[in-house]
């Protein structure tokens, strides 16, 4: 486990170094670049709030991917699950007139159910017909995309624009005044707290419960799980459903928290970023939380860097890409570490030998 923390940290360091090289090569000063990048994310309460808000959907999508990974599944359909979960929550928020607390809880439930529904299909296909979940969950992304493309203008159409839904009323928004005020008008919202609670719950399920034990056993060795009498198919379907449900709540945070309506024609990129977040977070819930915050910082700081310098925002994207690359090739980093340790040990034994010879 410790090893994985080192690998993730090294991936970040290498990514930042490579970004510095990129900046220098394109004729910019890396130190100024980075100082504006981090200032942009952390300079004042509003920017900190925005960084946290940017990170919120990433926490959910990362958690969703990580949960699936831990149970032996690759959920690559998080984008569609986010979208459909967000859509279900928006539909609830726009059509029910209830006190804010009750409405928000109903919306979170709707988001969870919507996301879970979208993920159960690949889960079922995997369990019953051994269809690989990567293929079927990617296809579900496009089904979600076109469903929203049709359903939003048809049922939730806004007053002026065909391409987005009506804005959610205040009672259906995760934004609350005390948070907005505390962070000087930032769009930070209650989604962050839901995300932290989700991290704790997922960590608990995976590490402490018999349910998590079953899911992991099925993920690690389906045959042994079957031998032990664990309901293998049920586990696969359930773990896809939970993974999708987490993504669905992420959709609520995205469309009813950071934004205030849902647009058509966009597959939320946060869904795919979730894979990177999970990878950098070594698939552990706390790791996901930290890596999502870091990604949130890069995403929210890059605009400021772009405004204050000539450095294109694509540099920030490149840094993220390079970090992902290093996290994904963690085996290389591990080898590097081992090589260093061995070299050190060799040097030590060599000097001891010399000592003996003398």
């Amino acid at each position: 486990m410790n090893n994985r923390i080192v690998v993730s940290l090294l991936a970040v360091v290498f990514g930042l170094l490579a970004g510095a090289v990129l900046m220098a090569v394109t004729g910019h000063d890396p130190i100024t670049g980075y100082s504006y990048l981090f200032e942009g994310g952390l300079k004042n309460p509003e920017r900190i709030g925005n960084t946290l808000a940017t990170a919120t959907p990433l926490i959910f999508s990362g958690l969703s991917v990580a949960f699936a990974f831990r149970t032996g599944l690759f959920n690559i359909g998080v984008a569609g699950q986010l979208l459909f979960g967000g859509f279900c929550a928006s539909a609830v928020g726009l059509s029910l007139d209830l006190p804010k607390a009750i409405l928000l809880i109903l919306m979170l439930i709707a988001g969870f159910v919507g996301g879970a529904l979208w993920a159960v299909v690949p889960g079922f296909l995997k369990a019953k017909f051994n269809v690989h979940e990567v293929v079927s969950s990617i296809m579900m992304n496009w089904i979600a995309y076109w469903t929203i493309y049709y359903a939003v203008p048809a049922y939730l159409k806004g007053e002026f624009l065909e391409t987005e839904s009506k804005p959610l009323p205040e009672s259906a928004s995760l934004k609350v005044s005390f948070l907005t005020d505390m962070f000087d008008g930032s769009y930070i919202n209650l989604g962050l707290f839901v995300a932290v609670i989700a991290v704790i719950i997922v960590a608990f399920i995976i590490n402490k419960t018999t349910f998590g034990y079953e899911l992991k056993a099925v993920g690690n060795n389906r045959h042994a799980a079957e031998y032990a009498g664990i309901a293998v198919n049920r586990s696969i379907i359930l773990s896809m459903a939970i993974s999708g449900g987490i993504a669905g709540i992420g959709g609520v945070a995205l469309y009813a928290g950071n934004a205030s309506n849902i647009q058509i024609g966009i597959l939320p990129s946060q869904g795919f970023d979730g894979i990177a977040v999970a990878l950098l977070g070594a698939n552990s819930p706390v790791g996901v939380l930290l890596s999502a915050l870091f990604f949130g910082l890069l995403y929210s700081g890059r605009g400021f860097m772009n405004a204050m310098t000539e450095i294109p925002p694509e540099i920030a994207d490149s840094i993220i890409a390079i970090i992902i690359y290093f996290a994904a090739t963690s085996i290389l980093i591990e080898r590097l570490i081992r090589w260093f340790i061995r070299r050190k040990a060799n040097a030590k034994s060599a000097s001891e030998h010399e000592g003996k010879v003398k």
Partner: protein, 509 residues
Amino acid sequence: MEYAVEMLNIRKEFTGIVANDDITLRLKRGEVHALLGENGAGKSTLMSILFGMYQADQGVIKVNGKEVRIANPNVANELGIGMVHQHFKLVEDFTVTENIIMGIEPRKWFGLGIDIQKASKKIEELSKRYGLNVDPHAKVEDISVGMQQRVEILKTLYRNADVLILDEPTAVLTPQEIDELGRIMKNLIAEGKSIIIITHKLKEIKSFADRCTVIRRGKTIGTVDVAPTSEADMAEMMVGRRVSFKVDKIASVPREVVLKVESLSVKNAKKVLGLKDFSIEVRAGEIVGIAGVEGNGQSDLIEAITGLRKVESGNIVLNGQDITGHSIRDRIESGIGHIPEDRQKRGLVLDYTLAENIVLEVYYREPYSRKGILQNSKIKQYANEILESYDVRSGEGASSVARSLSGGNQQKAIIGREIERDPILLIAVQPTRGLDVGSIEYIHKRLINHRDNGKAVLLVSLELQEIMNISDRIAVVNQGELIGVVQASETTENEIGLMMAGVKKEEGA
């Protein structure tokens, strides 16, 4: 220049375990040298060092009298050392030739093409010279396990190996194939090769080897000439105490029927009937052995009883209750224990710790979990008890990842887990496969002990000796059909052998 290979004072340490501690092995040119030791004694580590897969922490390796450093298997190949691994490293849908030349393909057309013809001609020559009888054009997936092993041997010969390391070569072979292997080794020796054979089967050492080096817990115990040394002496060197080969057991006292299988038919993985109209009874207080050549329906029978495979027709009755359609967990709950044939596929979640594996079938029950929450201290305590009483050796006790254990220790952990649940029917499939005599003796005792506690035991084994020694009654299968059931005390190896070949008792008599 008398020695082909010398490994002097080798030491190798892994985190938590000294695998090799001052081991010395000298291989004379033109001899078959057995390396004997218990599971986890350090045999595989030592050979991996010789083959360049690990580096020794201390010690010297000499090949043909010259000190060498074997950094990786390629260096070993260049030095004329070849290894045949226990688990073959072959590409199933390549031909024999393609497998053998992989990595050193002879080229034609300026390096653009592979000269298969030249290669297969050389392979054919080698095969003839050493009496291997391998068809270079056959696909690996179409040939028998014994033949695949010969392909592995050819691989090393093709690379001009003078020293062959055979890692547990007989573990996967039928008795006839084992004889064949003995003949092949004689041919190899006659052509000037030297062989190290890793094994813990004493009978084979007696019939194949010239000398034998025994190691125990990472240390050399000694090297002996095989001819004047008795099996019992070698076993004592290996285990450190006298081992009894005769299994002591009192006559069985069979009581009520525990398992009743009635005209069971089961389809196998190839979707044809692997088990046909099969009936058998196992009573409390007896051990019934299923004898047969591998792949004659034993696995289908066991999988049907344990619920891993669907039944086509017939019934399975446990303790008077029909469990034919029951779930796997229901069957476990009603008292079936199962030591599975393939410990890594079925028996263990290799990436789970030993503690987690020990509770694989009981994790959801108190005290191992309470209201859905795992009780880790209770789990660990239970695991430690089992690991201790079954002498499972590992780096970090119950916290060791199952993958890190040697095969024998993995097996002991599974056996401990199953027997400690005290099932009314214990199904043991190849329970001692790949284990050393000390462990075998111990496991046999536990099985008989289980019987003496009034439980039923169903034993499946490909080792006829094991079946004959342990069982009270023996059922013989051939091509999915029951050939007959005989009393173990009244039969002979010859009679069982004939039945295994499909000759019914009446016809034979």
